[in-house]
């Protein structure tokens, strides 16, 4: 009798529902995990707990007002979301920001990349068990958030860029402060590496965990550091340069194996490259305007006025109103992508000529990375699932939108 039961136990799998309120899932992600013993057989991610309907809301707001919604997509790197949206609208309108605005945007985008990677390193290390890293990373992140406060008056929901440029200029003192901080930052990154890179516990927990080959990574649609760790050279900053990236020199760090350790190395090296980019930008910072002369005002109209034509007869006055509306935006569609800290962040906007987007679709990297979790976790232990969620750098605000 007893033996029979044990045999039955071998056949059945154990189902564990992880989340949505689990500190290691980085938000409200729910994973339905099936285990055989302690090995993962199957994982089904469930998303949608943080759905706020941002894409639908965007259809009822003017283009400058939609920009404030994009703050709330990936709430720890709101500056790059804003820049991505503004770039998409600029490409739709066919305008280009002045050179100084481009450099300022590059600086703030790289600061955001630093702060996002710092938060990733902090929480990823905390999940695996390195508590000290959490405190060190937040120390530096606080500094970066203070720079944001100096630049635009807010720490997280910045709303700093504007369609056709940026809102306010950066003072020279703040630029000098950022320059000095970058030297400190490089030292700090070295510190993080001495703590973690050679640490035997860290290596044991991350080496050969969640391996993705280059082909798999491309076919699953991974982007950003998760793709580059597998050895695929794809960075939108190099492939389709936007803003001031053509004017600066930087390297794209690549990994070899595509495991969690490589993704860690990739991101840490990227932090160094970000610091180099910011320093180059401050050195080369040109003077001039920060807003294009063709840029739309922020009090943009919802709809255009009706077109006026000269009337055929004088009975109804001299003019005739037609049903056609004047175009505020050109009628077309555009897809533009930028390299956000998490991966390729794309905005697909269809315009019908009015001041509101007819449809806005966000290609969020986190959502696509979540779809890679089942593949990555196959055959791993439960403790490794936590490491894999951490290494993909998921933010649920972006995935559920």
């Amino acid at each position: 009798m007893g033996q029979l039961e044990i045999e039955k136990l071998d056949e059945t799998t154990f189902v564990l529902q992880m989340g949505p309120h689990h500190p290691a899932t980085h938000g409200v992600l729910k994973l339905v995990c099936e285990f055989e013993g302690e090995r993962v057989v199957k994982i089904t991610p469930e998303v949608g707990f943080l759905h706020r309907g941002i894409e639908k809301l965007a259809e009822n707001k003017t283009y400058p007002a939609v920009m404030t919604l994009t703050d709330r997509l990936d709430y720890i790197s709101s500056m790059t979301n804003n820049i991505g949206f503004c770039l998409a609208v600029e490409r739709l309108m066919g305008i280009e920001p002045p050179l100084r605005a481009k450099f300022i945007r590059t600086i703030v985008a790289e600061l955001t990349r630093l702060s996002s990677h710092l938060l990733w390193l902090a929480t990823h290390a905390l999940d695996i068990g390195a508590m000290t890293m959490f405190l060190y990373c937040f120390r530096e992140r606080e500094q970066i958030l203070q720079f944001f406060e100096k630049i635009c008056g807010a720490r997280l929901t910045v709303s700093y860029p504007r369609i056709g440029g940026v809102r306010v200029d950066i003072k020279e003192e703040v630029l000098e402060e950022i320059y000095r901080f970058m030297e400190l930052m490089l030292k700090r990154v070295d510190e993080y590496e001495t703590i973690l890179t050679e640490n035997r516990i860290w290596i044991a927990r991350t080496r050969n965990v969640g391996v993705v080959t280059a082909e798999e990574a491309v076919s699953m649609g991974l982007t950003g550091p998760a793709l580059r760790a597998s050895g695929v050279y794809y960075d939108i900053r190099k492939a389709a340069p936007y803003d001031a990236y053509p004017y600066v020199e930087f390297e794209v760090p690549l990994g070899e194996k595509g495991d969690t350790y490589d993704r860690y190395l990739c991101r840490v090296r990227e932090m160094r490259q970000s610091a180099f980019i910011i320093r180059q930008c401050i050195e080369k910072m040109p003077q001039g305007e920060i807003l294009s002369s063709h840029a739309p005002d922020i009090d943009m109209a919802f709809q255009g006025k009706r077109k006026i034509q000269p009337a055929d007869s004088l009975w109804g006055g001299f003019i005739k109103f037609t049903t056609e509306k004047e175009e505020i935006m050109p009628k077309s569609e555009v897809y533009s992508a930028i390299e956000a800290p998490k991966g390729e962040l794309g905005f697909y906007i269809i315009s019908d000529g009015s001041g509101r987007p007819y449809r806005m679709r966000v290609r969020a990297p986190s959502f696509i990375h979540i779809s890679a979790i089942p593949k990555l976790c196959e055959g791993h232990l439960l403790a490794d699932v936590i490491a894999i969620i951490g290494t993909l750098d998921i933010v649920m605000g972006e995935a559920d939108r």
Binding site: V66, T68, E149, R167, V168, T194, I195, R200, E289
Partner: protein, 193 residues
């Protein structure tokens, strides 16, 4: 050989431990918040206020309703009547639902007379919803509260002036830096409230 020694004597772990150890001799980066307060940066987007005009003692608002149009979360409610003699607008109601506000600063950027401002004041959490629902009087009171703790000669918000932007894009009254001169303890003067 070296690798073996490193492994035997836990060199990799000790290196990390050393960094942690040196922080004993460093100053803490944290502050004890309610007792100690960090100074806010210029242009922080905090609680809303109406600028009290030092000459008239009233608000500057001309009821153009631009702020209500541009507000992404639609949290500003304005009502006005038209004075028949001068055919100018008279502000009747001006309400801001601060719980809905997302602090983007579009309202102060678009205001043609620099009437509304997001002040550098952030400690206004409360237990009821009513105290975060500002009307004309409370907005003026917010300004007095902010300006009494403000250290400086005159006040110019960054988003009123928008440094770096081509001046001709802005309405005529915003092209020059129009700082508000500060007269402390305004609410104590007679006839203003």
């Amino acid at each position: 050989m070296r690798k073996l020694l490193n492994k035997l004597f836990f060199i990799d772990l000790l290196k990390g431990m050393f960094i942690t150890f040196t922080t004993i001799f460093k100053r803490p980066v944290t502050i004890r918040y309610p007792k100690q307060k960090r100074e806010l940066e210029e242009g922080f987007r905090g609680r809303h206020a109406f600028v009290r005009n030092p000459e008239t003692g009233k608000e500057n608002c001309v009821a153009c309703t631009k702020c209500a149009q541009v507000c992404p979360s639609q949290c500003i409610y304005i009502d006005y009547s038209i004075n028949d003699d001068t055919s100018s607008r008279v502000l009747i109601k001006y309400e801001i639902d601060a719980l809905r506000c997302i602090y983007c600063g579009y309202c102060e950027e678009v205001c043609p007379v620099n009437a509304i401002v997001l002040t550098e004041f952030y400690e206004y959490a409360s237990y009821d919803r009513k105290s975060s629902y500002f009307n004309k009087e409370t907005l003026l009171k917010n300004w007095d509260e902010f300006i009494n703790q403000y250290k400086g000669e005159d006040y110019l918000n960054k988003f009123w002036y928008l440094p770096g932007i081509n001046r001709e894009r802005l309405p005529a009254s915003k092209r020059e830096p129009n700082a508000v001169p500060i007269i402390k303890k305004m609410e104590n003067k007679e006839g203003w409230l």
